[in-house]
């Protein structure tokens, strides 16, 4: 499933809605230190079902909702939508759609919402969808900032898991 576009609103430093259209080939993301580039990666992981705040550099999951800045107050909702092209490699119940839009929301009171093509689903349906298509669930499809060295410095038993994901 190719990513067609990524919409981020209220997630981390994206207080205003932002849309990124990813095409074929190489999409570069650039900007100064602290401007939000790695936050885009966090948004992808979170929308795909990341449940550990620590994996998103937070201490609690609420950390990913826009907390405010000098010019804006905090928001009460974080929402990320990834829209995929159906390139044929999807579970049967979505085979009829040309696009598959996955949305995740977190409200500051702790309530979570998950949607596929605007239909409310459970977290389980989202993770199943991704597992079925192999999108993003492999340890080697997202290499986070500073992590590339870990492959070399990892213990042999930890390095094994990367090969297991290929098996």
């Amino acid at each position: 499933m190719r990513i067609q576009r990524l919409e981020i609103h209220g997630f981390k430093s994206f207080a205003d809605k932002v849309v990124l259209n990813f095409g074929e080939g190489i999409s570069g993301i650039v900007g100064p230190n602290g401007c939000g580039k790695s936050n885009v990666v966090d948004a992808l992981r979170w929308c795909m079902g990341e449940m550990s705040a620590k994996q998103l550099r937070g201490r609690a999951m609420n950390d990913i909702i826009f907390a405010g800045c000098d010019s804006r107050g905090p928001l009460g909702l974080a929402e990320v939508t990834i829209t995929f092209n159906n390139d044929g490699n999807v579970p049967p119940q979505y085979a009829a759609y040309t696009e598959i839009a996955v949305t995740r929301r977190l409200h500051r009171d702790g309530t979570s919402e998950y949607l596929i093509n605007k239909t409310p689903v459970r977290l389980r349906d989202i993770t199943d969808l991704f597992l079925g298509t192999g999108v993003g669930t492999r340890a080697y499809s997202i290499i986070e900032q500073g992590r590339i060295g870990f492959i070399v410095s990892a213990r042999p038993e930890d390095r094994r898991t990367i090969i297991e994901e290929v098996a």
Partner: protein
Amino acid sequence: SRDRFAEAFRAVNEMFQKVFPRLFRGGEARLELTDEENLLESGVEIVSQPPGKKLQSVSLLSGGEKALTATALVFAIFLIKPSPFCVLDEVDAPLDDANVNRFNEMLRDISKISQFIVITHNKLTMAESDRLYGITMEEPGLSKVVSVNLGSKVVVAAA
């Protein structure tokens, strides 16, 4: 299962041995099992020998050599079983210009297979991208996406 791991290990190892000399312009590398008798639990070691150098423990390699060795393994795994998209956050940071160019040459090739999203501060890597998204914070603390003009690459990023 045991056989699936053995096959995955064999395939990735074979590809790693091809990719490494491409990125290093020579030299050799391979994966080794810590316990060939026990495939269900064996760990995986990396052996890495840049061109012209003596084979020594991988810990003695430089920061850039470690990063490029790891990148060779990631690319090898990707070539055996491509994921639909791949995100690389500043993996080119420890590399000198010559190695950034080799990295981008190979990235150009494998990006025909899947989508790549590459975060970088490096101008050579930026020049290699098909499109560029600039993230800015004109208002401190508030991220916005803007068009980036780098020669021929302009992306008007507002949807």
